[in-house]
């Protein structure tokens, strides 16, 4: 049976356990119908021109894991940023693990989507924000239909969250192949500040597909720093859909570090509904083998005096494929917009491919919009310079590549995250960095 049909059938079973009085019951039904109509995207869809899902959709994924798995802290420690104190939300095969997590309801809500969806206390937030900005695409609808678990984060007014929040989804090998659909909602009220680190990690060589949807709302003057660490096993694929709505004077930045995984697709969309908004989208991609990473970004400038900065760097070795599809839309009211978009790539092997499509759609005249895209190799003279000073070719290459990716790291605000990413980059490039940053 095709995956699509299987999912639709599974929904019927899933639906029976649902409470029809729940606010999102109708939403789910609507979503599954929508998915039935649209299905999975294919390459005829312009947004999916360079990424085919065929190879990962052929597995017979289980939608609901049959039994719960228990992990010990020592098993997962290395995947966490453990050297600082954090709030943790740990999910194992899509199910919340209370003994590994640290949640809170003290002024801020860092808890579970499952309770947020059912408890009346959260009803107003869910009604206001749940599924409001995610476009009704096939994949999003699929997630909405099955949305059951994930992170629910609500930061009330005028608060600086004391420590970062980590969201981590583990997949164990209990199922021969598993489809995970985490659903996260982050609502940050006025003047508040939060830092979030997100990671998906498979602990098995069985195929895992994660179709995650995250909605983030930043109210006036809110500051949100979001870090996505994608360093999964080669058997795991990820479709990450993140949608952000910003109000006046808010500042949201999303850093995406893609090093692992089989096929990774990041849909990252920003909607600026207010003035003097700042949005930052940055990414480092270093992949090899047959890996495939696709960044699809959209920044929608709707009102005047806003800024957006995009900076994506990629290093592609072996037969890997990199896709960058960035779009900046400036509506005609959005005068004085300053939008910048850069995509720089290094091809390290003749079999690697890069497809880059940076787009601008501009309807306002008093704007400053620019984009730049480069594809090239390391500077031979710089390599020669390093070699002439006794640094072997391999290290010299590593150093230069590191330097190439480094300026994306500069805007990472949590030192421990920076350190971790540094280490990951060094391992990925197989170099010893004889210095600390």
């Amino acid at each position: 049976m095709e995956l699509k049909d299987k999912l639709i059938t599974s929904f019927l079973a899933f639906e029976e356990d649902l409470d029809p009085d729940n606010g999102i019951y109708d939403l789910r039904n609507e979503a599954i119908k929508n998915f039935e109509n649209i299905g999975f995207p294919n390459r005829k869809n312009e947004d999916w021109k360079y990424t085919s899902l065929n190879s990962i959709l052929k597995h017979d994924y289980s939608v609901f894991p049959k039994k719960e798995d228990v992990l010990e802290y020592r098993d997962i420690k290395k995947y966490l940023i453990h050297d600082i104190d954090t709030y943790d939300l740990v999910f194992i095969d899509g199910i919340f693990s209370s003994h590994l997590s640290q949640t809170t309801h003290d002024k801020i809500d860092v808890c579970l989507m499952s309770s947020a969806l059912t408890k009346p206390k959260y009803k107003p937030v869910i009604e206001n924000y749940f599924n409001k900005i995610a476009p009704k695409s096939g994949l999003n609808s699929l997630n909405t239909a099955f949305a059951r678990e994930g992170a629910f984060i609500h930061i009330h007014k005028n608060l600086q969250v004391d420590k970062p929040i980590q969201i981590i989804n583990f997949a164990t090998g209990n199922e021969t192949s598993l489809l995970l659909q985490p659903r996260n909602l982050v609502v940050v009220d006025e003047n508040s500040h939060v830092q979030i680190i997100e990671r998906n990690q498979s602990l098995t060589d069985h195929p895992v597909l994660t179709n995650s949807v995250t909605e983030i709302f930043a109210d006036r003057r809110a500051i949100v720093d979001y870090y996505k660490i994608q360093n999964d096993k080669l058997s795991a694929s990820l479709i990450d859909n993140t949608y952000i709505e910003q109000k006046s004077e808010s500042n949201v930045s999303v850093h995406t570090f893609s090093f692992g995984g089989n096929l990774t697709r990041n849909n990252l969309h920003f909607y600026q509904r207010g003035e003097r908004i700042d949005s930052t989208l940055k990414g480092v991609t270093i992949i090899e083998g047959k890996q495939h990473v696709d960044h699809n970004t959209l920044v929608h400038h709707i009102e005047p005096n806003c800024e957006s900065h995009q900076d994506y760097k990629g290093i592609f070795d072996d037969k890997s494929t990199g896709v960058f599809n960035g779009k900046v839309v400036v509506e005609k009211e959005a005068q004085k917009t300053n939008a910048y978009q850069a995509n720089n790539n290094i091809l390290a092997d003749d079999n690697a491919t890069i497809n880059s499509k940076p787009q601008l759609e501009i309807f306002a005249d008093d704007v400053r919009c620019s984009h730049g895209c480069t594809i090239g190799q390391l500077d031979k003279e710089a390599l020669f310079y390093l070699q002439s000073r006794g640094i072997p070719l391999k290290e010299a290459r590593g150093l230069l590549m590191y330097a190439f990716a480094n300026n994306v790291l500069e805007s990472v605000k949590i030192p421990e995250v920076k350190k971790r990413i540094n280490k990951l980059i060094a391992t990925k490039l197989e170099v010893e960095l004889g210095f600390n940053l």
Binding site: I354, S356, H371, G372, I375, Q377
Partner: protein
């Protein structure tokens, strides 16, 4: 009173199309509609050999099965292909040996177009092939060119007299089933220009084609084939105009360039079809397929100044097949009122050490939409390929739009690809700087727009640069000095 950008905007909006006259000469026009019989009839009318008729029919059959593409960033009412007449020729068309025999009314038309044939004959500057409503009317300087072995004639003549060349090259760059409009063109093209430069010959003058749609209810489908044999050089110019009409006329041309080893083709276009009136009524739909293929060490350079047409949809492309071949694309696209342009280029790098340069300047005013859409593709075997692209857009007023859709596909690690795009308006500080130095605002805007387009204007041959300037004036009068 100071001349402000608003004044310029107003002027742009009210400026009328200067070439909107209609020449009343008798026409031989086919009934409207399209079917196999019409295709056969066109072929017969032109006294074509059987292989050509078959070629057309093959294209027609392919076209029938195709659907009109919709991916471009333009909105328009789709033409009804059954309500167009596919053949219209000036009736009095004897075989002409000299200009004196040309219908005086036609000559008048040319005078109005600013291409006085007499004058040009005197100046011995440009050889012109004039295509009016689908049929080539005159070809000047045939004799001078013939001495060098250069063939420059209408394509129907070429089919009669040089069938071996046409047969060998026609459809090799743009196949019959390439795309919807190319197939339509292949089926019904009525005329166009043909040019062959023999080995090692440097064409002594600029070759030029002038297209004009005159008759109402007709579409123009011309076909141009330029072949530069090994080591030759040719510079080719193309210009076009149409009368002002309320209806939308269709122009679907195909241009094929073949640059054999070590040759160079420079192809310049000044496109000024009727853009429609201020309300966006009427105007020409310009759906054109232009493509060239470069063999070893060859070079193709496209230069275009796009000021006309209600809807433009065109991507002059280069297939860089041979090693060390070079492709260039220089473009200025000006849109005003309700005009829409979706234009750009494709650079397909296949050979080693291939280079391409793309410079595209878009100027949007009024309520127009101007898009750049381009593809740079570096294939696996294209070692050391190099591309540089730059797309700049200038916006005047906040009712227009400027869009950039670059596609970059790289499969070789030695490639170096750079792409840059900017969108801006004329900076107040720039104008202030000029004002400070005693240049009034009108001149300042002129200076800035001129400077903005200079990189492209400089690439036009002298003979055309003047006309291009003139056309920019029509679209942006008051801003170009």
């Amino acid at each position: 009173m100071a001349y402000t950008e608003d004044d310029l905007k107003k002027e742009l909006e009210t400026k009328e199309y200067e070439y909107g006259f209609y020449t009343d000469i008798e026409y031989d026009t086919f009934p409207v509609g399209l079917n196999e019989d019409i295709v056969r009839a066109i072929s017969k009318k032109k006294n074509e050999p059987q292989w050509m008729t078959d070629w057309r029919l093959e294209a027609y059959r392919a076209w029938e099965k195709m659907e009109e593409p919709e991916w471009a960033n333009v909105k328009y009412k789709k033409p009804d292909f059954q309500s167009i007449s596919y053949y219209s020729a000036p009736n009095k068309k004897p075989k002409l040996d000299s200009l004196d025999e040309v219908d005086p009314e036609l000559l008048d038309t040319f005078k109005k177009l600013g291409i006085s044939l007499d004058e040009q004959k005197m100046l011995a500057g440009v050889a012109v092939d004039v295509v009016m409503d689908s049929v080539s009317v005159t070809t000047t300087f045939k004799k001078t060119l013939a001495e060098k072995g250069i063939i420059f004639c209408s394509i129907s003549e070429a089919i009669q007299e040089h069938p071996e060349l046409v047969k060998k090259y026609l459809g090799t760059v743009v196949p019959q089933r390439d795309n919807f409009y190319a197939s339509l063109n292949s089926a019904v093209f009525s005329d166009g220009s043909f040019c062959y430069i023999p080995k090692g010959v440097r064409c002594p003058m600029e070759l030029s084609t002038y297209f004009r749609i005159n008759q109402a209810g007709t579409g123009q489908f011309e076909r141009t084939l330029v072949i530069a044999d090994a080591g030759s050089y040719v510079s080719y110019l193309e210009g076009c105009t149409a009368p002002s009409r309320d209806e939308n006329q269709l122009h679907a041309a195909v241009v094929e360039l073949i640059a054999l080893d070590d040759s160079e083709i420079k192809y310049s276009t000044v496109q000024n079809w009727y853009p429609g009136n201020k309300e966006g009524k009427g105007g020409v739909y310009n759906f054109v397929t232009k493509r060239g293929i470069c063999e070893k060490n060859a070079k193709i350079s496209w230069t275009q100044v796009e000021t006309g047409s209600a809807v433009t949809w065109k991507y002059p492309s280069c297939i860089l097949k041979g090693d060390n071949s070079v492709g260039e694309f220089y473009s200025i696209a000006v849109t005003n009122n309700y005009q829409q342009a979706d234009t750009g280029t494709k650079m397909i790098h296949l050979g080693k050490n291939t280079k391409s340069t793309i410079i595209s300047k878009g100027i949007s005013a009024g309520k127009s939409q101007n898009s750049y859409r381009g593809l740079v593709q570096i294939n696996k075997r294209a070692e050391n390929a190099r591309n540089f692209s730059q797309c700049d857009s200038l916006l005047m007023g906040n009712k227009c739009g400027a869009h950039t859709f670059p596609y970059i596909e790289v499969k070789n690690k030695s490639a170096q690809v750079e792409h840059e795009a900017t969108t801006s308006k004329i900076g107040e500080d720039q104008i202030f700087y000029c004002n400070q130095r005693g240049i009034d605002t009108e001149k300042a805007i002129a200076l800035i727009v001129n400077g903005f387009s200079k990189e492209v204007l400089n690439k036009l041959p002298m003979e055309f640069a003047v006309e291009a300037q003139k056309l920019l004036e029509i679209s942006l009068e008051g801003s170009v000095g």
